[in-house]
């Protein structure tokens, strides 16, 4: 499109702006107005997003180089890398990194596998399919705080919990989930919440599979197992990537179940919880900010991979211009 091309020249290369005076790329008043208009539409949202989400991060970086404990406000000063040295040597950061990897990783794998199974079960016509789908997405819609409370007190409780009762029916003695297996309780809750998320994305992938190709495979004598591994799975690959990465990014911030179910005990102190504890219970702003910066770095690594996948998919769909 002509308008888009001329604006491309104008906007992508600022140093060409000076040359423009000489070469005079024809830019009609109408085109100029269009460009100004498009910018005016974009800027309000951009400014609000920068103010609310970016400025605090910059301030966090600044704080991370300060000695600053709210209990001793007078001792505030420049700390250099002291906070980072403290944080990286006292062991808490690496154990929280491990807790995060363990909890988020296991929850992601479990919800992916179960979500895949459910997506395949739902990808066929059967009685009450719409209702089953509706019921299955409910855990993802549940308020995470409510899920954590219900799982802790109603499902996994030592005495009144339904899980122990069911286990008792098949002769397994009660398990003190919340106290002796805190990591598992958090993983169960998270996996339960995110399975529908994975299922929905994978189901969309399954349903976008060209039916005629599958029929051709079946006519050629490919069994269901063979079809799944050599046709469905490769087709689903990018959906799996998308589901895992978006799920992992959402779960990396996980705080609710940890704060509600375990308070970070028994190896469940994730990065988000550690930061919260250092800042708002320990009042150490400098150290908490250093944790914050490190958390951001870990997230950026994951997010970069996620974004690449997302853009690849958008390009494949021919959606991105």
């Amino acid at each position: 499109m002509a308008i888009a091309d001329s604006t491309r020249l104008l906007v992508t290369a600022p140093d060409q702006g000076r040359r423009r005076k000489r070469t005079k790329i024809p830019l009609t008043p109408g085109e100029r107005r269009n460009l100004r208009l498009a910018r005016a539409l974009l800027w309000p949202a951009l400014i609000v997003a920068i103010l609310i989400t970016q400025v605090p991060f910059v301030v966090t970086i600044y704080y991370s180089f300060q000695t600053w404990n709210l209990q001793r406000p007078r001792d505030r000063g420049f700390a250099g890398l002291e906070n980072y040295v403290d944080v990286l040597t006292n062991g808490a950061f690496f154990s929280s990194l491990w807790a995060t990897v363990l909890i988020v990783g296991s929850s992601a794998v479990i919800s992916l596998v179960v979500g895949m199974a459910l997506a395949m079960l739902l990808d066929r016509k059967f009685f009450g399919r719409g209702l089953a789908r509706t019921l299955l997405i409910t855990p993802f819609l549940m308020m995470p705080a409510a899920s954590a409370l219900i799982w802790k007190w109603s499902m996994l409780d030592n005495d009144a919990g339904m899980v122990n009762w069911v286990l008792g029916l098949i002769g397994i003695s009660p398990i003190a989930w919340n106290t002796s297996l805190p990591i598992l309780t958090v993983i169960i809750t998270l996996a339960w919440q995110y399975t529908p998320f994975m299922m929905l994305i994978l189901l969309a992938g399954l349903q976008s599979q060209p039916q005629d190709v599958l029929e051709a495979a079946s006519v050629d004598g490919a069994g269901p197992v063979r079809t799944f591994f050599s046709m469905t799975l490769p087709h689903l690959r990018q959906y799996v990537e998308l589901a895992v990465l978006l799920g992992v990014i959402l779960m990396l911030q996980v705080f609710d179940p940890v704060n509600i179910m375990t308070k970070g005990t028994g190896g469940t102190k994730t990065m988000a919880y550690l930061l919260y504890e250092r800042a708002f219970i320990g009042s150490d702003i400098g150290e908490a900010s250093a944790y914050g910066v490190l958390t951001v770095i870990v997230t950026i690594v994951v997010a970069t991979i996620a974004l690449r996948t997302l853009f690849k998919m958008l390009k494949v769909e021919g959606d991105l211009r």
Binding site: I52, R133, I150
Partner: protein
């Protein structure tokens, strides 16, 4: 050799496999839904019936728990949740629609960069921004303030809304917009009278997802509010008491808190998946 021979009874076997799969599907589905169903059921039981072992399946139903929840002042928290979620969602949509318009129908060349920027803000962990946010709000006396929470939810949901709206706007046929331009329609007419009605369903879905995320938000609400501006998610924990039984009243409060979002999500489930996948899936 003929390969297309259908074994006798193949159709029957297929039907049996289908029935078995259907039964399995339903068992798993009900298992998944069970915690939600049990929560709702427990909400109508007496405290004594709620905490028995083995569990009570035939209980006398009562509304007393809901009465207790509202007597404890829970409705004030629900109202806070509601106003923070609704207000932030309205402002998000007002800001996101023009921005998405600029990124899809009238693209500036750097639109990919802007798009990248919006989504990257969504990926950064909230916890890392919490310290300065807390201190700033404390300085200005804005802790425990619903408006402050509303502004933060606005920042939290804006990127998501821009992405979703963009994906819906991309589907508006070019010809319609070009025809409007040829007819000399003013820009405001083009955007609000011609395009807006076409993407209204998508806009509603985006609004719903923003509402759900704001309504369910726990971290900021727990940190930045205490009594006046407390929202429902952090308030739920207060029904857990060290003394005596609380399972029925906790279930009742949780049921009230989750119901609006669950029903809204059921209604809009078809569009939900696309929004959650950031528009990468049709």
């Amino acid at each position: 050799m003929s390969t297309a021979v259908v074994p006798r009874g193949g159709r029957t076997r297929k039907r049996i496999t289908g029935a078995v799969l259907t039964v399995i599907t339903w068992l798993v589905t009900l298992g998944f839904f069970f915690p939600v169903a049990w929560m709702v059921f427990t909400a109508f039981k007496s405290e004594r019936d709620a905490a028995t072992n083995p569990p009570t399946f035939l209980a006398e139903l009562t509304l007393a728990n809901f009465q207790r929840v509202f007597d404890s002042g829970f409705s004030a928290y629900l109202i806070n949740s509601f106003s923070a979620s609704v207000m932030s969602t309205i402002i998000v949509i007002i800001l996101a629609f023009p921005a998405a318009y600029a990124l899809s129908i009238r693209p500036i060349v750097k639109s990919t960069d802007a798009l990248f920027f919006f989504i990257s803000t969504k990926f950064l962990p909230l916890a890392a921004a919490a310290v300065p946010i807390y201190l700033v709000l404390q300085n200005f006396g804005l802790l425990d303030n619903v408006s402050a929470l509303t502004v933060l939810y606005l920042g939290m949901n804006l990127p998501l809304a821009v992405w979703m709206m963009r994906s819906f706007l991309m589907e508006v046929p070019r010809e319609i917009i070009e025809a409007a331009q040829v007819d000399g329609a003013k820009f405001s007419t083009e955007m609000l009278r011609i395009v807006l009605p076409l993407v209204a369903p998508g806009m509603a879905a985006a609004a719903l997802i923003c509402f759900i995320f704001a309504w369910n938000e726990y971290f900021l609400a727990n940190l930045l509010t205490s009594t006046i501006a407390r929202t429902a998610p952090p308030a739920l924990g207060s029904f857990v008491s060290g003394r005596g039984q609380f399972l029925a009243v906790l279930s009742a409060a949780a049921t009230i808190a989750v119901l609006p979002v669950i029903i809204a999500g059921w209604v809009a489930q078809k569009r939900l998946v696309r929004g959650l996948a950031m528009g990468a899936i049709k």
